[in-house]
């Protein structure tokens, strides 16, 4: 079966994000960008399914500006077979991303779409579920284990109370949680090989999908600062502060 993996390029997880002085967004100039960590887990899972002989082809897709090519090349170096860049210089909201992915699913006919459960910039946690609804597919979200057999994916999900296991009929949507796998590092030979793998570019406007923004970001601010704390020297002092100053115990 074919697997489609959707990936997003975001500000690197280790960068301390700074709000712009004019409150229109966060600083992205000269900031390190990387593949969203949850998307990396999705690529790794797809590649492992291919190595197990379950998947025949792994296609990665990203929606965004020209620089998203770098993230797609990273995914190719990790073992994906080919890549599609849907070019857009404007912001694309999750609903529109889901619509773009739906049009690619209709063209490519994968039996599984793997996505990260959320991107660490917008923290929306929407795209996979939206795509599932638009396609009329079942979903295994926040997956920590995936086993494919007999036309279904058995997915163990990380839920608030513990773990839940579902059998999701294929074709299916899977969104990844942190403990699904540990992504490999791309080896130098594979990075070189990835440069020769096919990368197709499409313009978002050519897909005939409604990508008009539905929301406006009015402002972006710093979160309220916490007042500076103090260091205590002993357990006795800590207990005294908690009892008599903070009055929480």
């Amino acid at each position: 079966m074919k697997i489609l993996v959707a990936i997003k390029r975001v500000i690197d997880a280790n960068v301390k994000v700074r709000v712009k002085a004019d409150n229109t967004g966060v600083e992205t100039a000269n900031v390190k960008m990387s593949m969203n960590p949850f998307c990396e887990i999705a690529v790794e899972e797809a590649v492992r399914l291919k190595e197990q002989g379950v998947a025949s082809e792994v296609i990665v897709v990203s929606i965004g500006n020209q620089q998203c090519q770098e993230s797609l090349r990273t995914a190719l170096a990790l073992g994906a077979d080919r890549a599609i860049l849907v070019k857009s210089d404007d912001a694309v909201e999750p609903l529109a991303v889901a619509k773009v992915l739906k049009s690619l699913v209709e063209k490519e006919q994968p039996e599984m779409v793997l996505l990260g459960k959320q991107s660490i910039d917008g923290d929306n946690n929407q795209t996979g579920q939206m795509l599932g609804a638009l396609l009329g597919w079942g979903q295994g979200t926040f997956a920590s284990k995936v086993e494919v057999a007999d036309g279904k994916a058995q997915v163990t999900r990380e839920i608030d109370g513990g773990l839940q296991t579902l059998d999701v009929k294929l074709p299916a949507i899977i969104t990844t949680d942190l403990r699904l796998n540990e992504p490999r590092f791309a080896s130098l030979p594979n990075i070189m090989k990835a440069k020769r793998k096919p990368l197709e570019e499409l313009a978002i406007a050519d897909l005939g999908v409604d990508v008009a923004l539905r929301t406006e970001t009015l402002k972006v601010e710093n979160p309220p600062a916490r007042k500076e704390g103090i260091k205590v020297e002993t357990v006795a002092e800590l207990v005294d502060k908690l009892k008599n100053e903070a009055k929480v115990i």
Partner: protein, 309 residues
């Protein structure tokens, strides 16, 4: 104008975050209607009907709703959507799983994880792991929203006597079969609603050492949490994780033990009223958000703390 709340429950009682979602709805115009969809869940509908702020309860009972699967409940909510300007769910794994399906079927761009309601169409929500707060205006005619429970104090569980109306059911889509669940059983309070939380990180060294934190938690009537590092290392199960992609908590007192304080962890707990950090590394970022920091070997001071309480 009215708000529909999708209740999270286990067929016998409401999950606490549903009450916080009801509290959020009181900042919106119009009636607040709670949808209880499940199986043999009449008692849940009756509980919701008593909750302060609830004007009406819709009850939909079907065997295939028993596990609240998104692939079945989404169509039920969409059928009811016509009468509502706002559809709200708690930003729990339940709400996060189902709300985007409803939004997509209604052709609405969902607003996730709101922490404040400025008006009927404008909301505040954290982005970048809470390192920035965005004010977002929705231009969709209907709003589909998930609510961060810690941002809205729950109203009383008593006081209303709203009508319970039984509504029809939708067909079983059969896209997904429920296999089973492994839920963590604990006598301690639930992490997201606990007044006090004791959390451990990589510094705990192994899972056995968490017994020490459990003792401390029992002295304080606290829940036990963990950082991602401790969960990834297999010290404790996934449902202990506090952070950007785990649970968001805001207790009266949060005691972080052996947690360095990665931004992803801080995102899940920095709205706690009082934060205590115990760590032997005085440079650990956790001390930047702590009200009271104790630079010390946790294996020495945690037993002392248990003794002192």
């Amino acid at each position: 104008m009215a708000t529909l709340i999708i209740a999270e429950h286990n067929n016998s009682e409401l999950q606490p975050a549903t009450f916080n979602t009801i509290a959020a709805a009181k900042h919106l115009d119009g009636d607040t209607v709670v949808l209880v969809a499940g199986h043999d869940c009449k008692s849940v509908a009756e509980e919701a009907a008593k909750a302060e702020g609830v004007d009406k309860v819709l009850l939909s009972d079907a065997e295939h709703y028993a596990h609240l699967l998104a692939e079945d409940l989404d169509k039920l909510v969409v059928e009811q959507a016509e009468n509502f300007s706002h559809i709200l769910a708690p930003a729990t794994t339940f709400g996060k799983n189902i709300a985007p399906r409803i939004a997509a079927l209604l052709d609405v761009q969902q607003i996730s994880d709101i922490i404040a309601i400025e008006s009927d169409d404008t909301f505040k929500r954290p982005v970048y792991a809470g390192n920035a707060i965005a004010t977002v205006k929705s231009n969709d005619s209907k709003k589909v929203i998930t609510v961060r429970a810690t941002a809205f104090d729950a109203l009383s569980h008593e006081g209303s006597s709203a009508a319970v109306e039984s509504i029809g059911t939708t067909e079983h889509g059969a896209l997904v079969d429920y296999v089973g669940e492994e839920l963590t059983e604990s006598e301690r309070p639930e992490l997201t609603s606990a007044k006090v939380i004791v959390s451990g990180g990589r510094g705990m060294g192994n899972g056995e050492n968490f017994a020490m934190l459990e003792q401390l938690a029992d002295k304080l009537g606290a829940a036990v949490g963990a950082s991602r590092a401790a969960v990834d290392a297999g010290f404790v199960p996934n449902d202990y994780q506090v952070g950007q992609t785990g649970k968001i908590v805001a207790p009266e007192l949060y005691i972080a033990v052996g947690i360095s304080g990665a931004i992803q962890h801080l995102a899940g707990m920095k709205d706690s009223k009082v934060i205590v950090a115990i760590n032997k590394d005085e440079e650990a970022p956790i001390f930047q958000v702590a009200d009271y920091g104790l630079v010390a070997d946790l294996f020495k001071v945690v037993p002392e703390l248990i003794e002192a309480l």
